[in-house]
Symmetry: C2
Subunit: 510 residues, 2 copies
Amino acid sequence: MSMIRRLPLSIAVLVAAPAFAAPVKADPVRQYRIAHEWEIVRELADFVAIPNAGRTAAEMEPNVRALDAMLRRRGFTVTRIQTDGGKPSIIARLDVAGARRTLGFYAHFDGQPVSQPDWRTPPFEPVLRAGAAVDAPVIDLAGKPVALPPEARLYGRSASDDKAPIVAILRAMDALRAGGQAPAANVILFLDGDEESGSPDIAAQLRDHAGALKADLWILCDGPVHSSGAQQVILGARGVASLELTAYGPARGLHSGHYGNWVPNPALALARLLAAMRDEDGVVTIPGFEDGVKLADAEEQRLLDALPAVEDGLRRDLRIGRTLGSPRLMDGVIRPALNIRGISAGAVGDKAANVIPTRAMASIDMRLVPGQVPDHVRAVTERFFRDQGWFVTAREPDAETLLSHVKVLRAEWGPGYPGYRAAASAPGTQAVIRAVTRALGKPPLVTPMLGGSIPMSVIADGLATPAVLLPTVNADNAQHAANENLRLRNLWDGIDMFAAILRDFDGGGR
Amino acid sequence: MSMIRRLPLSIAVLVAAPAFAAPVKADPVRQYRIAHEWEIVRELADFVAIPNAGRTAAEMEPNVRALDAMLRRRGFTVTRIQTDGGKPSIIARLDVAGARRTLGFYAHFDGQPVSQPDWRTPPFEPVLRAGAAVDAPVIDLAGKPVALPPEARLYGRSASDDKAPIVAILRAMDALRAGGQAPAANVILFLDGDEESGSPDIAAQLRDHAGALKADLWILCDGPVHSSGAQQVILGARGVASLELTAYGPARGLHSGHYGNWVPNPALALARLLAAMRDEDGVVTIPGFEDGVKLADAEEQRLLDALPAVEDGLRRDLRIGRTLGSPRLMDGVIRPALNIRGISAGAVGDKAANVIPTRAMASIDMRLVPGQVPDHVRAVTERFFRDQGWFVTAREPDAETLLSHVKVLRAEWGPGYPGYRAAASAPGTQAVIRAVTRALGKPPLVTPMLGGSIPMSVIADGLATPAVLLPTVNADNAQHAANENLRLRNLWDGIDMFAAILRDFDGGGR
């Protein structure tokens, strides 16, 4: 196990002192970053260039190898963990001489699929552009280093979600070291290789490695800063459940003229079912779906109300003529959600043939909030399907099944986990808020809930440890979609914040 | 203009005589066919091997060249017709010395798209198989000729729809000629190159070439025989209208967790709209859609009731647990229909990402019946969309349009035409029924309506000429779908029927 020797206390205090004031050029972390910007972006770009949307362990392997090298270079002890048939994840640990606390950081290195047609440049050929626009001039990363504008953006899958925080943490440690400083706590990294599939193995992995993962606080590093640009510390994250639906039509594609009035159309039947699952305001209409939901209490609602208004600009930017539910974006994420992420049947446009499709498919993701139990959500959803007249099966139905039921629906659930939300007053959370305040010179927003899903509940409950979520990337990063990107300024801020947390963490007791 | 000299009347009468009895081996048409089976299938296979699902004139050109050669070889005068920007069609004419009547045959040589994933062999690499099953042993068409089982099937796009009838007509003429017979009427072929797109130019083409297309009867050669296997003469065909719908979501793909409770999902909105267009029984619920519909009169209902029951076997074969509307398949085709031929949004299965899609698309085909006016159908459908809260536009909406409306729907109509149905008692129809009876030794079914769409109304009304529909291919031909195929026995029967009609046509007055 590697160790970094802590500096004598007197020096640490001296060095830490300027961080209580507004950050200045003289800050050694900042000095390090400014001197190494080009090298830092190159390290991230090299990491992003490794495809990470793979669905198999083998496809993820090059990421594991790259991380192993990056971590060992910094003195971490690296343990590769993998559950049978699953994708590999990484536990890395660096002990600090004299440290009485341990800080855990969670991030993930897998990425969402890249099948979206609108990528301007290939998702795994990272491109640095000099501004926010997707067609801003390219800065040649293979060329001679130049001064980097903080508004420059690195394009590529996982540039922001979630490889950037990994590089930011490592560079924060480099910066401390370069300035003669050491972390105030031992450091554990849990780097998840299967987060975008719902981290199917993480509960077992936490159980199996609970000893190695014992920490005073887990900081989850994922998600964007507030869309106003303000930094935020987030108290919770939604859970997730995902569902693939297949409705069955005739055994072979049928001429829609000869058979269209007699043979049911599976696309229409599925459309009818989807339409019944959610109302025009986005509220899930599956009876029992919201059972147990813990909505915002008075303090949480106060925090929500204090978040900056971004809605008007966002609506124009997204070109949407209306919004769902509460006019406030963040009010919505306190509730659960159901999203149709895909529908497919037959063909459209030039490829459309006058055929009754043989099947129709839909892909759904659900966002769960504290109080919702995933097993219960699955049960009430399937009961709802049956109440709508469907025979529900998890497998491809045989001829007898198809013939003996009016409507047959295959429902395949992906992995999932519950939502999580801690109190803003938790000591670890307060320590992170203070460190961020020091690093950036102003207090962060405190946001009750991340709209996205990260396995915060699994980590916090599985390790019986408090958890907090510290996002760093830009809100307009096109995460999960085409042209995902990272704004460099967010990477710089991330390094500053992680360095402040690492340097000053005292368990939150002060 | 080419001519075939009619044989002296006395010989023609002698030769025609056996056709009034049940067909026997001695029939010269049948003798010709038996002697040339291999050559006939090869000619059709070569024709099917020419890709015909192209959406441009250039892609259809090889079909035109092949047809030109096939027709000129038989003495036809060939005129290539093409409307600006459209796909080419063909008018071919063969005059018979002494003939006082003219018979027009309509068929088409374009095919439906071939994007269906289930093709066992490539759609334009025709394969002959020794039986009905899609995995029946292959008979090598490049090999030594063998005796062909009548249950053998030729697989490939347009093997049945609609290249088979073209070859059957030409081979019927070859057979007459080989037997020293001549058609009783001049022959015009109108070979449509754009039928599967709704024959967008046919009305103008009929108008432009009305003189060259003047005939006593138009026989439309498309569609399958009855699914019981019985030959049928069909009195009408449904019209068609097609529609591509696009519903718009956010301007870029959005993380469904961060935005799913606030940004409307276009897939769900479109699903809701589709679900509102048709009820669970398949009845179109667009107000005014059925305005003017002429349902079956007593005589037509008697004809419908007389059709053989095929429903139980068909339902099992198709593996469907229920059927729509009337339990009788053919009762349905008297009514109009609306089919969802495709839906597409985001992605499903392994490619699904947790994103709110930027748009959702659906492709719809409508089957129109006599009494329905396509313009009216389009108008009431768009009114229905507006009544459901949509702003409807034919073009890609700009940002201002998207921002200023709650829901924006792009509706693009394809070409279309009305339905058509003639009386069973029409003289030309009766002449065809008699010829088919002679050729096959038993009377055909008389079916009021083809479920599919062919531009029968456009031809009959545009040329002010009676029309009748004579299908020849097998009902289980997988027309429009994967693994389209032609049963050889249907090709042989087609040659017999076309030969009898050509030989004996007297305008229906006898």
